[in-house]
Amino acid sequence: MGERRTWPIHLLLIVASVIMVVPFVWQLLTVFKTTPEVARIPPAILPEEFSLHAFETFFSTVPFWSMFAVSTGSLVLRVVGQVAVAALAGYAFARLPFPGRNALFGLFLAMLMVPSQLFLIGQYGLIRDFGLLDTLPALAIPGMFSAFGTFLMRQAFMNMPQDFEEAARLDGANPFQVFWYVMLPMAKPTLAALTVLTGLYSWNDLLWPLIVSPSGENRPLPVGLAGLQGQFGTDYPTLMAGALVCSIPLVLVFLLLQRQFFRGIASSGLKG
């Protein structure tokens, strides 16, 4: 294949890439326009003068930094919780025999198949009854437990050679020490994949935060951004500026950790 010309392929891919990127480019051009400028027909491609008005409006109406803190805080809580809980359970399912192990794992698998909406009414009831509505933990708690994460970690541990464990055990290490010092370091790629996937879902999630933040206090970015849209329905430069500012943090993380993102998606592909 090496001798074949690749420029026709590049041409097709470039056309496709341009179509993919046009919405972002249009957004970037719009944030520097004024509201009347945006409503012009036919639309002006470039802004007449680079106005920063949209950003000023956005930052003066939306408590961006507190929303950012809520998004980040709940993400950290959810990721750390889920990775810890799933790694422990995944290791037990893979390596530590106990009575009823297969039946319990079957229950995890069954919950993995159920769409998330089936849990929302009950999870909401628990959060409300514990007085946690409109709090940061409410955003993170259900996502700290994941049948999917447990499944992923179990697969990782099952694919590891037994020799290291046996050697450590003969040296007198207890199961937790074996897990912590021997097995967990070998599971790093899977831990990274799970971290990235969980972080992505946590950051992007809209439905659960909508449900557990009824008062609008402690809102993460998606809920706050949706509120901004309700408030500034046709002030497109401000809306585009808000969408841009709120999206940039994760895009930057992605650009730094591309490999982990791709690995995470490839190892699971599960959405939501």
Binding site: M1, I9, Q27, F145
Partner: protein, 286 residues
């Protein structure tokens, strides 16, 4: 053994309290009338009977089904693009990053940008269509077009994920197969049809399953593009998960909402089982 129980305890407590119990309570509530305040009462199959006679529910399932079928059109597109990306050596990672950008953009932000592009008066889409002499439409304000408009965004958003999964599948195809067929004089198109697609079919099947499940749960786009701005097209454009949200968490008819969720579960199970049955005729396990 005690160690095992310590390891497994946190996950099991969480699973039972936050998944198994809520699931069972949704099931039970679907047979109850659950007022916003006060005790629930058992009403047998009333919620399901009401649901079957509720035009709004049928409309929502119809919308979700249409959306799902339309989003599936993105899969052949993803297969072709994944194969093209696999063919080039330079720039491969650049293409991957560009196609993946919508995945790492907040879905709420994606909805906002596309709502602007779809604007009937001065949106970019109508402007581009005018170059070809095509009349503009109110894509998200006219219920005749909303589901199609959502599906285009859904394909655009899901492409990056599908490309990664399909790309991993492509790399598992032995290069020798292509080399042998090149010696036999097969061109790229023939190789794609006779080698790539059959050998990739398990990955295509996997992507199809995931796409259908995700599409049947579409919520974010409709919330952002219609509900958050009180667009009147919402009434005719509700998807099944949106209707569930509205019943269970806006109107707080949790019994009725629970029944909708149970029906959604059944629909997803049937759709998935159907695909596993159909795969026998097209998925190739070498």
């Amino acid at each position: 053994m005690w160690w095992a129980l310590l390891f497994i305890a946190p996950a099991t407590v969480g699973l039972v309290a936050l998944y198994l119990w809520p699931f069972l309570s949704t099931f039970v509530k679907s047979f109850q009338d659950v007022p916003a305040f006060g005790p629930a009462t058992y009403t047998g199959l009333d919620n399901y009977v009401e649901l079957v006679g509720d035009g709004e529910v049928w409309k929502a399932f119809g919308n979700s089904a249409l959306y799902t079928v339309l989003v599936l059109l993105g899969i052949p597109l993803a297969v072709v693009l994944a194969a093209l990306i696999e063919q080039v050596s330079r720039g491969r990672s650049v293409y991957r990053v560009l196609f993946f950008l919508p995945v790492v953009t907040l879905p709420v932000a994606v909805g906002m940008v596309w709502r602007f592009i779809y604007n009937g008066d001065f949106g970019l889409l109508n402007y581009v269509l005018s170059w070809f002499g095509i009349d503009g439409q109110f894509w998200v304000a006219d219920p005749r077009f909303t589901i199609y408009a959502f599906a285009a965004v859904g394909i655009w958003m899901g492409l990056g994920i599908n490309l990664i999964i399909l790309g991993a599948g492509l790399q598992a195809i032995p290069k020798a197969v292509y080399e042998a067929s090149s010696l036999d004089g097969a061109g790229r198109v023939r190789q794609f049809v006779h080698i790539t697609v059959p050998l990739l079919s398990p990955s295509i099947f996997f992507v199809t399953i995931l796409t259908v499940i995700a599409a049947l749960q579409m919520f974010d786009l409709i919330f952002i593009m219609l509900r958050s701005v009180n667009n009147t097209a919402l009434a005719d454009s509700k998807t099944i998960v949106y209707l569930f949200y509205e019943k269970a968490f806006v109107q707080f008819q949790q019994g009725y909402g629970a029944a909708i969720a149970i029906v959604l579960l059944i629909v997803i199970m049937i759709a998935t089982a159907l695909q596993f049955r159909l795969q026998r005729s097209w998925v190739f396990y070498g």
